[in-house]
Every structure is written in C-alpha cells, then in structure tokens.
Symmetry: C2
Subunit: 265 residues, 2 copies
C-alpha cells in the first residue's frame, strides 16, 4: 500500500524533476458541517484525476472555516466604544474591528486604519484574518479555523479513508507582509509533513557547509498553490505533485518565530 | 509570431488549469562574462524542452551575479574598526560584515549577530544579500546584481534573439522574514510582466467587491520556483508554464513598500 514514506524516494515528478499544480475547482458553496474531503473526492472523480502517492493537498482556509461553521453574523456583534471610535476615524466597520480584536491575543500595530494583530494561534496579520469578502455579500464575517493544524489533520484522516493515501495537507491564508507590497499565501495549518527543510550542516556542490539555510517549504507550497487558486475562480484547493516533502508530524507553530527572537514586532 | 500578449488569452496550462514548473539544471559553473541565455538554451536543447508562448523564466540571482562578475575576493576587503568589533562579538567574518554595510543604504536592525539592512536597491534583508555559501569555498563573496531589473531585461532580450519569444523573466533570492521562521524566495528583478495583480474593485463570485486584494504574484512565482530550484541540486532556473501573467513593463520597485507607509522598519 502506498504510504507517505514512498514519496521520500520518489523522484520529483519523475525523471524530469517537474512539479505540477493541479487546481481542484469546487462548484458548490460550502456550508457548515459539509465534508471537505467528500467535496474534493467528488470533484476529482468528475475530472478523472486521482490522488497519487507523494501528492500534497493545499486548501484555502475559507472552505475549511465555512465547513467548520466559523461564519459570524455581523448583526450579532456589539462593538466596544474603542472599536467604534477607531473604526469611525477610518471609515471601517466597527463590528469587523471588534471581531478582529476578539480574535487576537495582542495588537502589534494600529495606525492609519491598519490593524495588525497577533491571533490566538500566533499569526501576525491584518485584522486577525477576519474576512468579509466573498462571505454572504458582506453581512457575515469569516474567522480563521480555531485550530488549523487540527483541521488539516482531520482532512488528512478523512481523505485517507477514501483514497487509502496519507496525503499531507496544508491550509493557507493570504497575508500582507512588512516591507513588501501585495499579499501572498502563507501556511496556517499543516498535517503529515514538516513545514521547514533544514539544510544546515549539509554541503553544497562545492563542499561548502550551508549556513542559515532553513527553507520554509510549507509557505513556498502555499504561494505556489496561490497561483492556481486565484481569487476570482472557484478552485479553493489544489494538488501539488512532484515535490519531495519530508513526511512527519509537522505543525504550523514551527513556522512562527517566537517573540523573543523576532526583531520586528 | 507568438508574443507575450498571446498568453493573456491562453488558458492556464490548457483546459485543466494546471501549472507546471520545469527545472533547468545547468551543469557548468557560471563564470564572469558567460551568457546565461546561451547556457539555458543549450540545456533546454539537450533536454528537448522548448520555451512556449506564455512561459515565464525564473532564475536564481546567483548565476546572474556570477555572470555579471559580482564576485568579490574577501582578501581584498579591509574591514572598518566598527565591522571588526561587531563581527568579533558574534564570531562573524568582519570582511563579510564590511561588504554588507557597503552594499547597504541603511541599517534596519543590528542585534544578536543579525544584521538587517536596506540594500541600495531597496531590499530589506540580512547582510544586504551578500552570500558566501556556494562561492569558491568561502574565499569569495557574491553580491546581488547591481540592477536586477536591468539584468532581467537583458536576459529577456538575449532569450528573445534565440527563441523569438518575449518570455518574462524573474530573478530571485532567498530572504528571511519578520515573524516567520525559514527562508523563502523573493523576486528581486523582473522584466516583461507586472509583479502585482490588482483585484481591487473587481467582484467575487457573490458580487461582493474585493478590498485590499493586490497579490504579489512575482513573489509567489519566486516561491513556486524555489520548490524545484533547491539548494542542493544544480537547477538555478526553471520555466513556469500555465500562469496567466499580465504582460507589461513591470519593475521590482512595485513590490517594495515605501518607508513612509511601512509600519515595520
């Protein structure tokens, strides 16, 4: 039976070393309680695509959050005086500001209408990842999954039941970044693979020891997936085929720099 | 004749919407004055791969810098008292510290042996991108290209002469990031496509206007390429096939957040 281990010895996408990103368009709107695994497998069956050993599944958090019932009716949110005052100053929705603060464990910056928080999970991002686009026409907000690693592990387990394969799962969201313009995708949950690849101590083609070389492969996979899971199409997930990941019990916390060693918060 | 414009109407990788990343392994060591275009075309000919209309070429800066003679013999560098004192404190090479300072226009952070600078180009990264791994066993340092956009434009022009195609070119380097562990690839030079994709004002599948939605596609392409251009193999470049880029005279400056609007420097 195929296993995650197999992928260690699989050449990247065969002899050519190619990597393929196969979008999985899901036609249905995802509702609370839906099985993402079922939706993915149904879609793939229709497209005559099968998961293969060595594949990685990358999923945008939106469908995961929706399936987990993380939708909040904004009409039920009573913003604090503080949220109202700040929102008014920058023509923002005070209820969204309120939700962002509730979903945070620290405010990192609050300036010029931009609110950068540290979420309960430890992500540093705008508005704690609270999202009002693409959600019921603006009447609702969508929160990040409560525990995205657990969401990824659950999805991986459900997929294994259907496919027999231990496919690693990465859940992503789009964040802004210090210093650079534009959003990119980031891994916010992971199961079945290590999010970092450590080259330290290994030697390059000149025999010179590589220093400071830890690659955030889960974030690079998230970005790659972002190229086929665009904002305007309905492909909230994709298969990455041909990447030699390191199997193992990875967790997203490995990607988060502790405050003590972070020079920029 | 095929042109960049064709790609606008080309579906991503055909009907499936697939994206492919095709590594281009270059066996030769790159020397000052070498033509990267020649090396790439030779390699592709050997592998029986042809550039297609709509392809993007992503190249690690190392081979570009080497071809442009950006190698510095560390024996020729006389570090300042300041560089010597700081390097000594953290067991660093004072000559590399000196080079990093010379290549910078501002020191952003200098703490615990970490030196984050703003390069003359405007990149915020460790040690101004000065690299001593994979470079002549440590006797030399490799600097970033002087003007990576120009390098990308030159490579694009040279490739067009050989292939007849106006292939966009992205030059990349690996940088660390605030808040997150691990390095990822970033675009440091670009030619022939826009580095940002602007969704603002467009409507999602619910008719809801997308806010704050500018995607840094050039950085996502850089990350995707990083997955096939690993540190330990000899694939310093790859073709991205199937991505609907926006043709145009993009420049890397579009990706750099001005200091005035940056909350984290």
């Amino acid at each position: 039976m195929p296993s995650a281990r197999t992928s260690r010895t699989t050449k990247r996408g065969g002899n050519s070393g190619e990597l393929r990103l196969i979008p999985i368009p899901i036609a249905d709107e995802i509702r609370p309680g839906d099985s993402i695994a079922d939706k993915l497998v149904e879609t793939l069956r229709r497209l005559r695509i099968r998961f293969q050993s060595g594949d990685i599944l990358v999923v945008k958090h939106k469908i995961v959050s929706k399936a987990e019932g993380r939708l909040v009716d904004l009409a039920t949110i009573k913003p604090s005086e503080e949220s109202i005052a700040w929102a008014k100053q920058y023509s923002l929705d005070a209820r969204v500001v309120e939700l962002a603060l509730r979903e945070s464990r620290a405010v990192i910056r609050r300036k010029n209408g931009v609110l950068i928080t540290e979420t309960h999970h430890g992500f540093l991002c705008a508005n704690s990842g609270v999202d009002v686009s693409n959600v019921n026409g603006g009447s609702h907000a969508l929160l990040l999954p409560e525990d995205p690693d657990r969401s990824a592990a659950n999805l991986r387990r459900a997929l294994k039941k259907q496919t027999g394969l231990s496919t690693p799962v990465i859940i992503t969201d789009s964040f802004g970044r210090p210093w650079r313009e534009g959003l990119t995708e980031f891994a916010i949950g992971i199961a079945g693979m290590k999010p970092l690849r450590d080259y330290r101590g290994r030697r390059d083609s000149h025999g010179y020891k590589l220093r400071a070389s830890v690659d955030a492969v889960a974030d690079e996979l998230a970005c790659a997936a972002g190229l086929v899971c665009g904002k305007l199409n309905r492909a909230p997930a994709c298969i990455v085929r041909g990447f030699r990941y390191e199997p193992g019990p990875g967790k997203v916390r490995d990607l988060l720099r502790p405050a003590a060693t972070d020079l920029f918060r």
